[in-house]
Symmetry: C2
Subunit: 77 residues, 2 copies
DNA sequence: AATTATTATATCCAAAAAGGTATAAAATAT
DNA sequence: ATATTTTATACCTTTTTGGATATAATAATT
């Protein structure tokens, strides 16, 4: 699959660890498939927003617009 | 379709207006379909993250985890 | 080192997203 | 009020996600 870890994927993995959960446990609690949790932590970019939110909700979070890192900003045109 | 407007959908619409763009123009610049922009602004929750990011990028933003509104928090089950 | 637990990769497939396009509705302008 | 621009809804097709499951690889524990 070869996906790069992202800020989001690392964030999720960290939160999961902090809550002492395994991937199967997280999947169960969030009501998503194990496959999904794995894709998420591997940084897959094409995931469905609602599923990601199902997971983030466990941590009191949700997906929202945040400013991009300046080093990734594309200047006009 | 009957989708509820969300914080994100309202945010996108506002940003688009601020940048004086129509939906077709935004779709073109973002490289997504017009249908997608419409679903996005109508608050469809099952959209793909990468496509949403294609749009947000135009505004120097990206999807990231943000704290949930406290009134939506589910207390520890 | 060997066993066990956890995580990563792969295949199959039903369900659904996204694009294109057409038309209706709503908003804006003249 | 009418015309024009913009936005919303609906249908159809193609592509892809996500779940389930099996197996391989890695990490952790004893």
């Amino acid at each position: 699959m070869r996906e790069n870890l992202t800020d989001l994927s690392k964030h999720i993995k960290l939160k999961r660890k902090q809550n002492k959960l395994t991937q199967p446990e997280l999947a169960l609690k969030a009501g998503v498939g194990l496959r999904f949790v794995r894709d998420l932590e591997q940084g897959k970019s094409t995931l469905r927003m609602d599923k990601v939110n199902d997971v983030l909700r466990l941590f009191g979070e949700t997906l929202g617009p945040v400013p991009m890192d300046r080093d990734k900003l594309i200047t006009n045109e």
